[in-house]
Symmetry: D2
Subunit: 376 residues, 4 copies
């Protein structure tokens, strides 16, 4: 008997669906990208370069209009011959099947409506549509919400929670990197009602790429290298997003202390989560806790529940669209420790965006995403 | 008016004490080191090379006997001409004023008594005398305690807690790296009785040098680099040491969840500590909390309480014998977050050992230790 | 008009060849791996996991027999369900279409003949069959050559030089990492006879993974990190391999000074090559030099000649099976500087091995290899 | 017999000179720093904090005026209480004994004359006075030289070459980082006339701090980390400075190919130098070559000639004011390989500046500089 790898099976299925698709005529997704010069932009290009059913037609950048994408990102040489950053052009974008926004917050507010009206679906990697309450958004982002009328239909694109809504959505808000790692790590317990909704602690460690490609002193090699520090303690903008998602899972308002740390690595988020079992659940044993997670994520292509007391490494998901999770209950006390790791640029951003696209267009959910992490 | 640096003032004092000392005749401390080939060993040599009143007479290593120290550690070239690792020789060690043990656990058990009997003082950087209870030690270290009769006189060498005992001690147990960062971060609150003694969380991030110079796969550049992971969740050997120290401070038994993480940097520990204000103290405001710490550490040469809501970086203490601490109270809840950073090889090991030596021999406490961190 | 990415085109071709292949019946290559626990082993598994026409049937390891591959390498979780390291078993290996050796030198000597006799093709990633002269091999590797009778048929697997021989080869010696970067950087000039064959300098910088996964002090994070050093100056084992390849290209014996350096990064080789134009070629201008390289590598799927005076970064090929090359002629002197970068584990080892397999089995040469580098 | 460390001896000498100096009355050097916010600025502050005879009176910064130095550089907390960046004020600077310029090029041009006229000595860490020919300076720096009248008296502050001139100099041009490593590595051979003055190759690898603290994309952690690249091939501004120094040593014009590389580490320069023995010297054996270097640098406090065929690591000089050099002659050919390492911020900038100050003011040359490198 022989072992077969997942990709091989995937390709077989792909080939079948491809020919099936040709009949239907729409298997190739025409993609536009707004603001592709940052790290989530180049990561989208990397992922779409190996996606069997997507084709990048337009990529815009005000600052770099006219520059070939592979001049800015030489890793892409040979993959996008002729693709050049262009000035934003709504007509060209509207001719796409889907447009990704890899922009700072505020940009998608301004453009999304026009594209949606033209029938183009929108996947926004920024924070513009993640918070349901426009006032809360305005409070955390320090400016009025630019498109509150779109909020009701925006779908928060965490496939493990909202797969069905994503399928039919026109507008996706791709979750932030910290929120992805924290929510996937906690929702099984919160949905089951086994833990106290107050006093949740998320001690998170992020690689430096989470700070983006902007030229800031704090992101310099000589500033962020060989050092560890906390930052934005108590006032990070992902706080309301995480709280919203956890409260949804719990069915009630949760209380969260969220402490992000800057870690001297390029990619990766390691979330160390502390929650207390509540009264009735204190009697749960290790097997029950483990099974809760395995059952919740059974069949999920992008969540990997490791065995009890494992210690996932961020490098095991480097470049991969996977969240690895493991559970601990030190000294058998009421305090659970959940470890959750992702690549902030993949499952925490561009990979999750592609996963949403796959769902939206009826493709295999992990199309173009079924590769292992780069290790070492 | 002019600014004067601390070192300048220190040198003036040194010069005075030196001449005073000459009268007394014993200002030069003769130092022996057992097991100097690991990272705490070379760090001792680095620190003693710039110590104005210490002189290394003997350094032993079974495995490297005959090798010049600066062949193994070329950074020391020019500083210890002629100093060679020698086979352990109790007589030569006993001729020293003080002997440092930079050895794996178990070694100091066997040799300490003999040296103490010869009148040589012992500063042990290993875990051999840190736990007061020999049975608990045996349980965590998986072997019987080799010198329980010495435990009653061993002094746990955290100068900020036990300065007076250190002065007269013959046998010092230098605190571990994690225990130093965690205890200094928490004892003001515990001594004051302002926080719940149960449910304390220490989420700690350590550089790779904490794992020592042993050739282990997990410490390879390609395994530990560009990645983050937790390890030894709930069963790290520093757990009982931290609990003992915190319980002493609290005057009662504390409950601790300790999660260490391996961080891709060479030096540094970042402790992120979570404690809950207790009933009476919930009304304390930020200023009172900050003042508690400033008062507790007033005049301490090696603890630096930063301003409220600061975020200390481990690099700010790289190579320096300092613990930097800052306090946060996110969203004004009952949960305090204390950030505490040290260099694990300095204030977390060899620097603290030298600080103990300085106290034991009546020297300026920061003699040889008054240099800034290496930044960048 | 729309841009199409290379992968998309590739998949279309794949699908066609797949169905064509089905007719032939043997499109799925059955793969065995000997010694898969090192970095080239796990990299083979990573690459084969996304290869559309290969299936790993056996992977052997004496030391880890019984361990699931994804327990040792959690990045592979989900990709090889059930695949376990097994004791070497010639019969099972011989049932494969091809066996990769990812072993220390000496191992393939002992096993290759048996497999070849059984009709299994062998791709050896070690140095066992790279040097044509058994005596020279013995001299550099300090032991007699174990299979000199196989040397005449062994093909040195640099596809850009020996594609035709590879196609029909039974036994491939995959070039070393340094030799790949240096040879690809120099052969156009040497083949053309434009440079002095003596006095060639190869100043090479390698990431730490080049030293393998063995637990050696010199490869520790705290030893190799944040530092740069040369090593094995004048006596590195890749010296004779490089000299052999360059001499072949030049049609005469070349003189080489090769200085490797250990660089604080996980992956990557940067070769900085210095050669002197010879008498007749001193009049060549920049355009002619550039065109020499572009013509030599025209159509090569895995060599990318960048524009004149570019500076390729190793990260642009991280994880990718590409060699990027750029030419400089500082101050217009007779000295050319050629910069050549690869990922030592991909184009310098496992990727090149897969490229050889593709050629040997008549697959698309870049099947499973057509992904961009991971950047950042 | 006991080993004594160099620092201890140094302190004894210091104490004697101190008391002698008190009679003379000027043992404390009053220091001003212009432009102290960059990496060479903070490094000056770090070094002067442990200098026994220097006191920083003024530090200026237009952009950060009003900010305490230890707020920008928390490693300095406790060392400079009350020291605040101030607006440039010539009168206050002129009241110092010496003023260091840690500024971009062009700034010292404008201010040096005024300070010199006021009797204040100037040590310029920038490139303003390194090139003797004002026109050549203008050509490489793209602007007219702002103070050509000062060039005749400016002393190029490489103590190993110009110690006597430095003693009496009013204006020092501190050598650049690459020039220091390359010149110290080559001048023994060039002064002796043993090597060809043409065709010299300097393949240099620098840590990222060499690029300064400016917020540039290329210096980001995610751009410079985990990668290696050459840059400024053939047109780096240190080219003319190196050529000038090597030509001085050779007594004739030299031909240099200089290829700098950006290396993923914070500090350190590794220069790999290739020179050819000339006709008469081809018969020199290894011992003679080694002795040439040992004799040339005999007694030098800041140059360490390692044994034949050593491989110095940059980390061995991290934070230390030392240049370590080793010689190789691979395969006994005519090509010598010299390896030379420094910390670019210490012996390559601020440490060398302090060394110059010590010489200028008749202090022990290594006062405040006699500490080992930080390893690991």
């Amino acid at each position: 008997m022989a072992y077969s790898n997942r990709n091989f099976v995937y390709h077989l299925r792909l080939i079948k669906s491809y020919f099936a698709g040709q009949a239907g005529g729409d298997v190739v997704i025409k993609v536009g990208i707004v603001g592709g010069t940052g790290y989530t932009g180049v990561e989208l290009l990397r992922l779409l370069a190996i996606h069997p059913q997507a084709r990048v037609d337009v990529i815009t950048s005000r600052s770099e209009a006219g520059m070939p994408v592979d001049e800015m990102y030489p890793n892409l040489r040979g993959h996008y011959p002729g693709l050049v950053f262009s000035e934003p052009d709504t007509a060209r974008l509207a001719a796409c099947d889907v447009v990704f926004f890899a922009t700072p917050h505020g940009v998608a507010h301004a453009l999304a409506a026009e594209l949606l009206n033209a029938g183009t679906r929108v996947i926004d990697l920024s924070a513009d549509f993640r918070i349901r309450d426009a006032d809360e958004w305005a409070c955390w982002y320090g400016q009025p919400h630019g498109a509150p009328e779109l909020l009701p239909e925006a779908v928060y694109g965490l496939p493990e929670v909202a797969r069905d809504k994503i399928r039919d959505a026109r507008l996706i808000a791709v979750p932030g990197c910290y929120p992805t790692a924290v929510q996937l790590g906690l929702i099984p317990l919160l949905e089951a009602g086994w833990v106290e909704p107050q006093g949740i602690i998320a001690d998170c460690k992020s690689g430096v790429s989470g700070a983006g490609r902007g030229a800031k002193v704090g992101s310099l090699f000589c500033e962020a290298g060989e050092s560890m520090k906390a930052y934005s303690v108590g006032n990070h903008r992902h706080h309301p997003e995480i709280t919203q998602g956890l409260s949804d899972a719990a069915g009630q308002s949760v209380g969260l202390t969220f402490v992000p740390h800057l870690t001297p690595m390029i990619r990766g988020i390691h979330a160390t989560l502390y929650v207390r079992l509540n009264g009735n659940s204190l009697k749960r044993n290790d097997v029950e806790l483990q099974q809760l997670y395995e059952a919740r994520y059974k069949g999920e292509p992008c969540v990997d529940v490791m065995s009890w007391q494992s210690c996932p490494e961020t490098r095991s998901v480097r470049g991969a669209n996977v969240c690895r999770i493991a559970l601990h209950r030190p000294q058998g006390s009421d305090l659970l420790v959940i470890l959750s790791v992702i690549d902030n640029l993949v499952k925490g951003a561009s990979g999750q965006a592609v996963q949403n696209m796959n769902i939206m267009f009826g493709l295999e959910e992990s199309a173009g995403l079924a590769f292992p992490g780069l290790m070492p």
